[in-house]
């Protein structure tokens, strides 16, 4: 059947075509102005679910990075303190070696004992160091000073670990238990650093060269080894965090790239599509204008 073309048909078709073109144009315009390929899930349901997952992932990666940064700060503070404690132990060993020979007089030993007392306070002070208002050597009792200055050598914290989440399902202990190094003093007789140093000071005051030479030096060295091990451990953990930091940055870059691939509009492509569509729209306008205008009426007298 040959179609008769009637007035309402032409008008309807023209309007429908123009509307169709305008809709496409407005979609493209939205794409250009937002820069997004996906503004609603129905634009691309699979892409949208990818975008949701990637956005969540990105937020997570940024949080892990904050955790890692915090952990690195914590471990750096730990290392700085341990380094100062090591300096103190080193100085104590020097003093010990210097006054352990019997040529050292009673007064020299007395002076050394006084300095050891000071070193003990320094060590306790370092063990009481805070990071962001928290005692880093107190286990999870971060609100309690691990050691009372000018008081008993008992450890007031606990031995629990503090973890930082540095990746999905990945946690890392960031604290070290200083009590295993410093101990609980002479009362506990645990041969740890504070006990040893107190004993050394006592031996110096008692002018007991024999004790200084035979027992105390070895105990001090053993504690020094333990301290060095602890510092190595802290260094290794800092290292791990630094590596994690780098990896998280790389992952973040990667996720951003993926998100952009999924979500962002290709500017050049969109622009070309827009121009093409606009040309089509102009053509439709022109055609519509001509078709609707002319009729036989124009030619009848």
């Amino acid at each position: 059947m040959t179609m008769r073309i009637t007035a309402q048909m032409t008008a309807r078709n023209t309007i429908r075509d123009l509307q169709g073109d305008l809709q496409t144009l407005s979609k493209l315009q939205a794409k250009m102005s937002s820069g997004k390929e996906i503004t609603r899930p129905s634009d691309d349901p699979y892409g949208a679910s990818r975008a949701l997952a990637l956005r969540g992932e990105l937020e997570g990666l940024q949080q892990y990075q904050r955790n890692v940064d915090d952990g690195i700060g914590w471990l750096n503070a730990t290392d700085a303190s341990l380094s100062k404690i090591a300096d103190a132990v080193h100085r104590a060993r020097e003093l010990l070696v210097r006054v352990s020979t019997d040529s050292a007089g009673e007064r020299a030993r007395e002076a050394a004992a006084l300095e050891i007392d000071q070193l003990i306070e320094t060590i306790k002070q370092e063990a009481n160091v805070q990071y962001a208002g928290r005692y880093i050597f107190a286990g999870t009792a971060t609100d309690r000073q691990p050691y009372a200055l000018l008081g008993a050598d008992t450890y007031n914290g606990n031995g629990d670990a503090i973890q930082r989440e540095i990746g999905p399902q990945v946690e890392l202990d960031i604290n070290v238990t200083v009590s295993s190094l410093l101990g609980n003093g002479q009362a506990a007789a645990d041969d740890r650093l504070l006990h040893t140093l107190r004993d050394i000071a006592d031996a110096m005051r008692a002018d007991d060269g024999d004790r200084l030479r035979n027992g105390d030096l070895q105990r001090l060295d053993a504690n020094f080894d333990a301290l060095n091990q602890m510092r190595a451990d802290v260094g290794a953990r800092t290292n791990r965090l630094t590596i994690a930091d780098g990896r998280l940055s790389a992952l973040e870059q990667n996720s951003m790239q993926l998100l952009s691939d999924v979500e962002d509009a290709d500017t050049v492509e969109t622009l070309i599509q827009y121009t093409t569509q606009q040309a089509a729209y102009n053509m439709a306008l022109k055609a519509g204008g001509n078709v609707v205008q002319n009729s036989l009426m124009d030619f009848l007298r």
Binding site: M9, G60, R144
Partner: protein
């Protein structure tokens, strides 16, 4: 029987009258070129019954039939009722698709994804807030306040989406009620159809074809076809019975000519889609149930970890739906770690590790499903729209007024009229010769 000398005048007069009438029809067509639902009309010209010239009255002795002119026997409406049938079937599907698209797009917008403040990001920030709390779990920590704030924002977002989904279902219900209620479209159209039935039957009884009333009736049935399945049966009087969504809506035999309101037994079209949207098993409320399940998962899994050491819940354990989710913990009562030690953070870490788990996954699956559903109904609507457009084009091709055609007809009828009057003048001239000039020889 001799033929009257004046018969030719009568024949020409008929030509004049017929062409004038045809011209009037053309004028009516042109006037209604843009009337929605109008079918073009055509004056059917038929030759009048001939006069018999008996045998043996002529030289040859043969008889003859002498034409007596023209008559408009009918003003015909040009319309293809088969196309109407097709149009109404597809229009019903389009009505359903359009109503569904409208609601589903609203649902899609209420989720507001993907964006920086959709539930997806708020969930993610909620997990981050736990992770941040793990970095600073102390009782005086600002991370606690931040966590509670994030949790409340998340709860509000769930509540708002829940509310909007409920709204979509309620709106569908109230739109259904507005259309089907007293004074609604169905009521009004059915009443008008019943009136038209009576007027049309009356006209048909006296032998007229009420073209414009028939157009109006077809137009109303077209409108009804968008709402539900319509089937039309015409009786001998020209009145129609209209079945609508499985029940008889307009029946010439019924008191008042129509029966409304009724409960539709097979609601298709827009009304069917609206009922479906308002139904508890419809899309809006089943998405809402899925959202509730996400919330239940969130609340129970966070509470299970949070209440571990001291039995303190983070979310209200009774608020297991998206509208009733509530944060009961305060900055002071948030539990970051089990056992003693201000710096314990195992609970916070454990909750932070729920990130990317079943809560996030089932939520993003829900959003993705809404997206693909919307995409599907959009394409269904587009296809249906194209079908309806094509059928409407076919109908317009048959019934629409073409100005060019009407111009040609105008010229045709004008010329016909002119020719008839010329024939009359010529006859008049002949009669003049006969009456005034005959018998004057020698005068």
């Amino acid at each position: 029987m001799p033929i009257s000398s004046f018969m030719g005048l009568q024949t020409s007069l008929r030509g004049l009258i017929a062409h004038q009438q045809a011209m009037n029809v053309t004028g009516h067509n042109i006037a209604n070129a843009n009337t929605v639902g109008y079918s073009r009309q055509e004056a059917v010209l038929t030759a009048m019954r001939a006069l018999s010239v008996p045998a043996n009255s002529g030289v040859t002795g043969h008889g003859a039939q002498l034409g007596t002119g023209v008559d408009v026997t009918q003003i015909r409406r040009i319309r293809d009722s088969f196309l109407d049938l097709q149009f109404r079937t597809e229009n019903m599907q389009l009505g359903a698709a359009a109503a569904k698209t409208n609601s589903l797009e609203q649902i899609e917008l209420s989720f507001g994804e993907p964006s920086d403040d959709g539930i997806n990001m708020l969930l993610s920030r909620f997990w981050s807030a736990w992770s941040a709390l793990a970095s600073a779990p102390e009782t005086d920590s600002a991370a606690r306040t931040a966590l509670v704030r994030h949790a409340n924002t998340l709860a509000t977002a769930f509540q708002s989406v829940h509310e909007q989904l409920t709204q979509v279902a309620a709106q569908a219900r109230s739109e259904f009620d507005a259309i089907t209620g007293p004074g609604g479209d169905v009521d009004n159209w059915a009443r008008e159809l019943a009136q038209l039935n009576r007027t049309i039957a009356h006209a048909v009884t006296v032998g007229q074809v009420p073209n414009d009333l028939l157009d109006r009736r077809d137009f109303l049935i077209d409108r009804l076809s968008e709402l539900a399945q319509v089937s039309v049966t015409e009786d001998r009087t020209g009145a129609v019975r209209v079945d609508f969504g499985g029940v008889t809506l307009v029946d010439p035999a019924a008191a008042g000519g129509y029966t409304w309101p009724q409960t539709l037994t097979r609601p298709g079209g827009k009304l069917g889609a609206l009922l479906d949207l308002a139904d508890p098993t419809g899309p809006a409320l089943s998405y809402r149930a899925r959202l509730d399940a996400v919330v239940a998962d969130l609340v129970t899994s966070v509470n299970a970890i949070h209440s571990g050491p001291g039995g303190v819940d983070f979310f209200d354990p009774a608020g297991l739906t998206a509208d009733r989710i509530a944060v009961v913990a305060t900055a002071a009562t948030v539990v970051a770690g089990s056992g003693g030690g201000d710096g314990r953070n195992d609970i916070a870490n454990a909750i932070a590790q729920l990130r990317g788990g079943s809560v996030d996954r089932s939520y993003s699956a829900l959003v993705s499903e809404v997206g693909s559903d919307v995409k599907q109904v959009l394409s269904t609507e587009a296809i249906q729209q194209a079908l309806v457009d094509a059928l409407e084009n076919r109908r317009q091709s048959v019934q629409g007024v073409s100005p060019d055609e009407e111009m040609v007809n105008m010229v045709r009828f004008q010329r016909g009229y002119q020719a008839s009057s010329r024939a009359m003048t010529t006859l008049d001239d002949m009669l003049d010769t006969l009456i005034n000039r005959t018998g004057k020889v020698g005068l």
